[in-house]
């Protein structure tokens, strides 16, 4: 026994002598890595604080009731954001209503129904590629497809005198829908993939059809993830300027759209217009516009978190 313990002790001794010198260094490396990670996350937060502070300084001078009730004006003290807010609300409502069914439908098809063959993987690759296409390209596509109602060949789709949807809320919304669809599809697919196969098997095991399995088990389980992806995609769409300028969103609109075929302006366009004016007062107005845009964005993101928690809890029950 004593022999054995003696030999094992020397073993340990010789082993620990191999590592002894590096122990402090390893701890040091661990601390450095911790520091790098912390710095990484602080950069993001610091940037946000600097941005918020910068905007706060000029942004609240014009933050008043009439900023929300007035239309644009050449006089900064009475200029308001209402046309832009209403335009953005209209557009985003239609984007949400079209992108959700199409995006989730495509994701369900690809994950649950499609055979895993070359065609499917080709479609899959192209959806991922589309997510990386610059937004201005979608603007050009939207101009052709929705504003003019043509596919590039053959005659335009016309009802009477008017072809396509013209430069309307509808054209803007459908263009933005195309823009965010790849993101919605990929996010929904990830959410659907994360539903354990055992749940599907159990469902089939008790005799459920594929439709029953998908509608009452897979989709509810995947919903928190889908909603998160959806709202993050909408947050991207709300700040897009290039594609809707391309399809002809206007700059001076002193009324709110009443139907989807009315002309419109949007928050980022109004901000851009104010920033590019010579008078400093308009720059402050632009800052106020950015504050409103940021608040809208943060509200949407908060909604995403709340929905995720709430839906997550429900499907766990």
């Amino acid at each position: 026994m004593s022999d054995l313990s003696g030999s094992s002790r020397t073993d340990i001794k010789s082993q620990s002598s191999m590592f002894k010198t590096s122990l402090a260094l390893r701890h040091f490396r661990g601390r450095v890595f911790y520091g790098v990670c912390l710095a990484g996350s602080l950069v993001g937060i610091l940037l946000l604080i600097v941005l918020m502070n910068d905007i706060r300084q000029d942004g609240f001078e014009y933050f008043s009731r009439h900023f929300f009730t007035n239309y644009p004006s050449r006089k900064p003290e009475i200029a308001g954001f209402r046309g832009a807010i209403m335009g953005t609300l209209w557009v985003m409502t239609i984007v949400a209503a079209t992108a959700f069914p199409i995006g989730v439908g495509a994701a369900l098809y690809l994950e649950e129904y499609a055979k895993k063959n070359r065609l499917t993987s080709l479609i899959q690759t192209n959806i991922s590629n589309l997510a990386g296409v610059p937004s201005i390209v979608f603007g050009i596509l939207g101009l052709q497809l929705f504003v003019r109602g043509t596919i590039g060949y053959g005659p335009a789709i016309c009802i009477g005198e008017s072809c396509g949807f013209g430069r309307s809320v509808m054209s803007g919304a459908l263009t933005l829908t195309l823009l965010i669809l790849p993101v919605v599809i990929v996010a929904s697919q990830e959410a659907i993939k994360s539903v354990p196969p055992s749940i599907r098997e159990a469902s089939y095991g008790v005799g459920a059809t594929r439709w029953q399995t998908v509608s009452s088990h897979v989709l509810p389980q995947a919903m928190p993830g889908i909603m998160t992806g959806m709202i993050l995609a909408l947050s991207r769409a709300i700040g897009e300027t290039a594609p809707i300028i391309m399809i002809g969103a206007l700059t001076f609109v002193a009324f709110s759209p009443e139907t989807p075929l009315d002309p419109f302006t949007a928050m980022p366009i109004q901000v851009l217009n104010w920033v590019s004016r010579p008078q400093a007062e308009f720059h402050d107005l632009a800052a106020t516009g950015i504050v409103v845009l940021l608040i809208t964005l943060l509200t949407m993101n908060t909604l995403a978190v709340v929905l995720r928690i709430k839906l997550g809890r429900e499907s766990a029950r």
Binding site: S73, M86, L89, F252, A254, P263, P278, H283
Partner: protein, 310 residues
């Protein structure tokens, strides 16, 4: 319960949008109604916007929309009857005229104002006071790239300091006009200057270097007189008077083009143009920082409008 919360989410979304919709359709002051679609130059935009704002207040049932597609972009829409009125910071080109003719769009051309281009320097600069067009061409000409680098090369009385230039980007109508007038060919310019589409960036740049120079619309100079100085061109300082009577070399015309078809068929367009050319409407040109056209030309424009609807 899951379905309920999705429905709840959608309902809330719609209610939010509808709540903000609460339309305020008061009893109208005038019975004029209908849409007026305007697009075109960003230079003419401030005037049109001001006129549209007042017109919309007086005629709440009309719907005036103004876009900013640039002079060329505006004509592409105007000549296919997408818009009723197009703003332009240069006369219509032959190919645009042909496009309008192909689509049967007849129009009248109305000059509503003039915009002086300001050639500016840093406030602290004391030698750049008056430049001739030839000197400007020497500074900005395409041949000067990489060769004229010091102010002393432009005029022997100037110090041997590095030239630092700021100007609008090549997409801008201001760039086209300046190069045409100064260098004799639209688009011909030296490339080694700091370009920006945002004139406020140019202001900041010039304010930061004593030996810098740049050009942009007069309104930007007027807003930044505390940091910038103006350079006379051929001995003339830009002012409302010198720009109006054409004695300042770098003044460009601001036009609106109006479709005759719209004037005849849409009462609201006719009323809008009448208001634009009225004393009250045309005063907006001064208010936003441009210069008036002479009174007799304005009278002639008013007659042109009335004749085109008879």
């Amino acid at each position: 319960m899951l379905r309920d919360s999705i429905i709840l989410y959608l309902v809330v979304f719609f209610m939010l949008s509808m709540a903000a919709c609460g339309s305020s359709s008061d009893s109208s002051v005038s019975n004029l109604s209908g849409a007026i679609a305007i697009d075109g130059s960003s230079t003419v935009y401030p005037v049109t916007e001001a006129v549209a704002e007042e017109f919309q207040i007086a005629n709440p049932d009309t719907r005036v929309t103004v876009g900013v597609s640039g002079t060329g972009g505006g004509f592409t829409k105007f000549c296919v009857s997408d818009t009723d009125i197009s703003g332009a910071s240069r006369p219509i080109k032959d190919n645009e005229r042909e496009l309008c003719a192909e689509n049967g769009v007849e129009f009248i051309e109305l000059r509503v104002g003039l915009d002086g281009l300001a050639v500016v320097k840093n406030k602290d600069n004391n030698y750049l006071n008056d430049l001739s067009m030839d000197q400007l061409a020497k500074v900005w000409g395409p041949a000067s790239e990489d060769s004229v680098m010091k102010w002393s090369q432009v005029d022997s009385s100037f110090p041997a300091e590095d030239i630092d230039l700021y100007g609008p980007g090549t997409d801008s109508g201001t760039f086209d006009f300046f190069t045409e007038e100064v260098n004799g060919e639209g688009g011909a310019s030296r490339g080694d200057y700091t370009p920006s589409e945002d004139d406020n960036v140019l202001v900041t740049g010039i304010a930061g270097n004593e030996h810098s120079m740049g050009y942009f619309g007069y309104a930007y100079y007027a807003e930044n007189m505390d940091t910038l100085g103006i350079i006379k061109v051929n001995g003339v300082t830009p002012s409302n008077e010198t720009v109006s009577n054409g004695s300042y070399a770098l003044s460009r015309p601001l036009y609106i083009y109006v479709s005759i078809n719209s004037l005849q068929k849409k009462e609201q367009v006719l009323e809008f143009v009448r208001y634009y050319l009225s004393d009250e409407g045309i005063a907006m040109v001064i208010e936003v920082g441009y210069s008036n056209v002479p009174v007799d030309e304005l009278e002639a424009s008013r007659r042109t409008v009335e004749e085109s609807v008879q």
